[in-house]
Symmetry: C2
Subunit: 767 residues, 2 copies
């Protein structure tokens, strides 16, 4: 399908909601079923040469050749995996053809220039668009979030901060809370009723509206989307996951859901939004529109841009793309990702209509240094964060599995409404959960300077107030909220809630350390670091370390988090504590739960993702895999012994995308393989003299008479083959590094079977 | 050879200089010669099954089995390439064995802990050692550099800065120049004679001493070594390149050569030093000592540590390792590299006995912002830098080629003396070349604050003084010095001289821009940016952009340079100008010379390096490669038809490391391949009943009688095979991504030949 056609379809789809959003099932390949007849689920598990129904040899009823139309659903249908070497070879061929054209005159030169530079134009456009999207989401969320409390009387589209711009907040009469607007400010009960009523009503309505958008218009807009994007970048095809509709719903949905006060963040969805932008933008450039492998280069760059904008950390964004999101990351992609991340950062700064806020979300300036004995509390933070992270993953996965199996899955909107209601009410009970996550994080990261509210600063536990217990309560609440929220049908990211949990954890450890130093440890032994009666620890630093450590415990990222924290704080001083925290969190986390949250989600959803980080140690050979494959007969094409009628029947009755070609059924020596699409195109294009005409696929096949058709050119004569004795580990390595979709299995040159990526994954997961 | 044995050999070698430093020839594989008989040069080009001399079928004279000793020179001899899948499989096996052992008691647990954590212990040790080495080099160079001018009278081991510590320099009597010491300070001529005489004498002696060390003790210590380290990291084996002797000579050599005032830097050699440290340290850990693939993970981390220390930029160091040096870079390596880089950074700070200098070499603090129209001069800098970079590579390569072929190559020490002499004299003529490179760079990077010497600040060209022409002269001189110096037989890096050239270039463009703004462009159009009569440009920023751009033009790095510059300046503001400069420099550079200096050096030296950055578009198939290979007969083992005597002869008369095993000479169906080492070990270990006993290699071979030996276990039954029709591009991809050493070429299951990495490289280079 051409780029134009596809775009037009998208527009049509836009006006016919739910047309294609029948319940899809990405896991069909795991259970060996071939769901529905509408072309979905034709995963490449069924692609290759295995079919029970069709007897060999005798051709069944033949189909008139004139009836034959190209189906072309195989390249690439939904939930299939792409063939990287093939796609990259196509791109090389394209470039060769392009270079072979003579460049003369102005227009061809411009065309050449456009094509050569299209990568840069594309990532530039992605960067700008991502920046603008991010700004729109920020502004929208800010306004909607304040809407729960009141309205700007002067200009209703201003949020509280900008309504009272340059006016001390206690003198600002333009901004009125709902009790003020409804005149309920005089009675205590009335005030509370209106205030709380509006707050809860707005929160629940926003969340429900987001859920309605997601459920009825774009189901793919739910969650953070990072797990799916990881799969897509590894070569999985999920059609419409990165489409215009998903983009629009996700954008409005994330504004609504994050304004509703649910415990979720907008950084994960920002990655999904940026990927949609990358996908949509790449359609304008023929180089990327028609090549799935090249398109993924743009998607990698988009991912980098998303986090660059979200945290104001361009290098962190690139590292995120490299470490977490991307699968194949070339140096060209690295450089373009960096460019894209930077452009996005500049764009959001340019668009920001207020111009006051710093580009970084939680810009911190610390001047106090840490001392070596403080490494002990940092290690403690790391260990606790690792345990928290694993607990989060385990609980969330259990909850998601239960949710899937129970009847709740039939009422997603009611679930969202209920969770929002409970979250809102409980959050009211604690000053730290009442405020927005970003404000909470800013408070926690802050040191106790002149601007910070004193109560959040050194409130020694057991002494001034109950800050310690409030923080502990907030930590427990936040943790539960986050666990419950991740998985409901609204756009929801995991970064911010986990940063909040981590910051609270770090602050708790800071308070405990301060108390220990003051009350238990003889201050003499701390001499030189800390004077009697003074505050020794920097609670903001502990909060930063805690945030990084919890993120590491949940997502199992490492370098990315260090770099993001480095870019936020801008000081190399704080890299060491952050690294210590992250290292221990990752070690403890890996010991208590083997994979991060995204890999766990991928496992739960059953996506065919071959993790390129773990080093498989499966004690088996290719033969063992073939032995446990469902025992279907191997369908092959003989190089010289198939009639046109039989070929048409084969194509009609099977859904395999590729057929191996062999010398003969008896010998089974591999000649090559042939693509379904090519066969169909050839059948549709060629005038066939006779239904019984023989087709010849091998160049050294004995000619079967004067009427035979020579279709050698359709055959890929150089398939990648593996020996039946080869260890599974090496085969996994080949699939991973070369991005293969299938290999032929041979022994002494004889074809024994075919292994697809999904076969391999199924085998590795069960061993 | 075990780790112990090897270490002992190293110690022995230490006392027998030049024992093994006979003229080696890494390029023998390119010319199809098999140099010398001492085991060197048995590159894996000769490894596989091609030999003219030996007739097939008829067994020649047999060797008594008792004479047979294991040669084991094949795994891995000098200038061979390693087999990554094999090495990684060995590591997996090792881990499996280790886990299978029961862990009980304290000592086994400790052993287990040591083995699991050995990666971290190893990179920790590497980090500390690299930091200490860097500090020693810095201190040594500082003292030796000042020795050219005078001596500290109080403590002769102090350099000028620390001799006059806390004393204003004009009041400092402890530090005396040579004319003062020799009482020649009164007469003008005497002063000049003593000053200049000592300066030149010391410079030349230091350079000559460095050259003597290099030529007579460790020839591998010459140059920067980055090109060779790239090759080593890609899987090439250069024995002794990373040994103790090379380390020691390189360390002292770089102190001497950089103190001599030659136009060279110590950052490149620091990378080599760190790699030596990584190699030596990895010998203490069995996990790394005996596995070439795993050892390279430590080397990647070491490389990161080196640049981290050199520029005070840990993230930049990691990116350097990722972008430039390393070949296979897993996520584990990334994280450990970061750790190593950080530890090294902390170590150098801890060791630094003065504690005054900032960790960064050229720490810059700019507060002035740039404006959009300044992007034009930044683009100009980029274009000029790209041209300069390409010119540098072309000139330097031409010079190196000429040097190799001419008689100069026989007198390397005289060459060093001559170049040092000329450099010293010419450098005296210009104030900018007279000062040390690092001082020059600091001056150029500086803005015009209160501390900077006025003459280096805005000296408008054609107005105050001749600053413009001095800078231009310095640029030309520096460029020529650097071109001539790179390639002589002293340790010499390219970073600092190129940064100096770039900084001068940037400063020139800054002065020109300032002049244009003041004199040509109507200042009105610049309104808002720049007031009449004020200075509009920030020359320090231009110098930074120029430095990054020239480095990019010479080395073709991108992200690494942006990050290093970001870490130096600490401001995201300056990332955009730097990126613009680097991008244009790389584009213009790539257009005028296809590869960077390190790749050019690799080409010149003929190392077998398969660049993982360029996307080959060779229009050929595996068959074309086989067709142009020297037409030797294919030596194979039949699975059931070889006598022990014939086998021994074969092993004696050939030097191939691997032999393919086939069903029979007539059929040539691939069964597998067998390693020479395994065959030799088996022959040495087994009691052979009879010289004519038949050896059976295939499990399905017809048994050749009761006396036959079953050696099926020695055969690797799952070799990686490619089809003869496969495109070379795909094969290159397989070699690159999987790190293969050889593949078997088959057609319909029949063995047609063997392709090694070197065959492939030779073919790709000539097509």
């Amino acid at each position: 399908m051409s780029g134009h056609r596809r775009r037009f379809d998208e527009v049509l789809d836009w006006f016919s909601p739910r047309r294609r959003y029948a319940p899809l099932d990405a896991t069909a390949w795991l259970r060996n079923v071939n769901p529905s007849g509408d072309g979905y689920g034709t995963s490449d598990e069924e692609v290759l040469g295995f079919d029970d129904d069709l007897p060999h040899g005798a051709a069944s009823t033949t189909v008139p050749i004139s009836d034959f139309t190209v189906q072309s659903k195989c390249k690439y249908s939904d939930f299939s995996t792409i063939d990287w070497p093939l796609e990259l070879a196509r791109d090389r061929q394209r470039r060769k053809n392009f270079r072979a054209q003579k460049v003369s005159g102005c227009l061809p030169w411009l065309k050449f220039f456009f094509d050569s530079g299209s990568a840069w134009f594309c990532v530039f456009a992605v960067g700008i668009w991502t920046g603008v999207t991010s700004a729109v989401v920020d502004i929208g969320e800010g306004w909607m979030s304040d809407l729960k409390f009141g309205l700007c009387q002067r200009n209703f589209w201003l949020n509280r901060e900008h309504c009272c711009w340059a006016i001390p907040s206690h003198n600002c009469t333009d901004w009125q809370t709902w009790p003020q607007i409804f005149g309920a400010d005089h009675s205590m009960v009335g005030h509370f009723a209106v205030d709380f009523g509006f707050y809860v009503t707005f929160a629940v309505s926003m969340a429900v509206f987001a859920a309605v958008l997601v459920v009825f218009i774009a189901p793919y807009a739910a969650g953070s989307g990072i797990a799916e994007i990881k799969c897509i970048l590894s070569g999985f095809v999920i059609r419409r996951y990165l489409g215009v509709r998903t983009y629009a719903v996700k954008m409005f949905g994330i504004i609504l859901s994050s304004a509703s006060g649910l415990s979720l963040g907008k950084e994960g969805p920002a990655v999904h939004l940026a990927s949609c932008i990358g996908n949509i933008t790449s359609r304008w450039f023929p180089k990327y529109a028609n090549n799935e492998a090249k398109k993924r280069e743009i998607l990698s760059a988009s991912t980098a841009a998303a986090l660059s904008v979200a945290f104001g950390a361009p290098i962190g964004g690139v590292m995120f793309s490299l470490e977490e999101a991307s699968y194949y990351f070339t140096f060209k992609t690295l450089w373009r990702s960096f460019f894209c991340a930077l452009i996005a950062g500049l764009a959001v700064r340019g668009v920001n209509p207020w111009g006051n806020s710093l580009p970084t979300l939680y810009h911190v300036e610390h001047t106090i240094r840490w001392v070596v004995p403080e490494l002990i509390p940092f290690v403690v933070i790391g260990i606790l964060a690792g345990l928290l992270g694993s607990a989060f993953i385990k609980l969330n996965m259990a909850l998601c599995a239960w949710r899937k199996s129970s009847s709740i899955s039939k009422h997603p909107i009611a679930e969202v409404a209920f969770i929002t209601f409970v979250t809102t009410i409980l959050a009211y009970s604690n000053p730290f959960t009442k405020m927005s996550s970003s404000l909470l994080i800013r408070q926690m990261f802050n040191n106790c300077g002149k601007d910070s509210t004193p109560e959040f600063c050194y409130g020694y536990p057991l002494e001034s107030g109950n800050v310690f217990y409030y923080i502990l309560g907030a930590l427990v609440l936040k943790f539960i909220f986050t666990t419950v929220t991740a998985g409901i049908k609204v756009p929801a990211g995991l970064f911010v809630p986990n940063i909040a949990v981590g910051a609270l954890l770090g602050r708790l450890v800071a308070l405990s350390t301060q108390w220990l130093v003051n009350n238990v440890i003889s201050v003499d032994s701390y001499k030189g670091y800390c004077k009697m009666g003074e505050n020794c620890v920097t609670p903001g630093l502990y909060a930063i370390v805690g945030a990084a450590a919890v993120l590491s415990g949940v997502m199992r990222m490492t370098v990315t988090l260090v770099i993001i924290m480095f870019e936020l704080t801008g000081s190399i001083e704080f890299v060491v504590p952050t690294m210590i925290g992250i290292m221990f969190a990752k070690w403890v986390g890996d010991a208590t739960h083997p994979v991060g949250i995204y890999e766990a989600q991928i496992d739960l959803c059953g996506y065919p993702f071959l993790d390129n980080r773990d080093d498989e140690t499966v004690e088996a050979s290719v033969g063992d895999l073939l032995a446990v494959k469902p025992n279907r007969e191997l369908i092959v094409l003989e190089q010289a012994a198939i009639s046109v009628g039989r070929l048409v029947t084969l194509l009609r009755d099977t859904s395999f995308c590729v057929f191996p070609v062999v010398t003969s059924q008896e010998e089974m020596i591999v000649v090559g393989f042939i693509d379904r699409v090519h066969l169909e195109r050839q059948l549709a294009a060629q005038v066939v003299p006779d239904q019984n005409a023989t087709v010849v696929f091998g160049s050294n096949a004995i000619s079967a008479g004067p009427g035979c058709l020579h279709w050698e050119k359709l055959v890929d004569m150089a398939p990648i083959c593996v020996n039946v004795h080869m260890k599974i580990e090496i085969v996994v390595e080949m699939f991973r590094k070369l991005g293969l979709r299938q290999v032929l299995v041979t022994n002494n040159g004889h074809l024994l079977g075919v292994i697809t990526k999904k076969d391999l994954l199924k085998f590795v997961r069960h061993n």
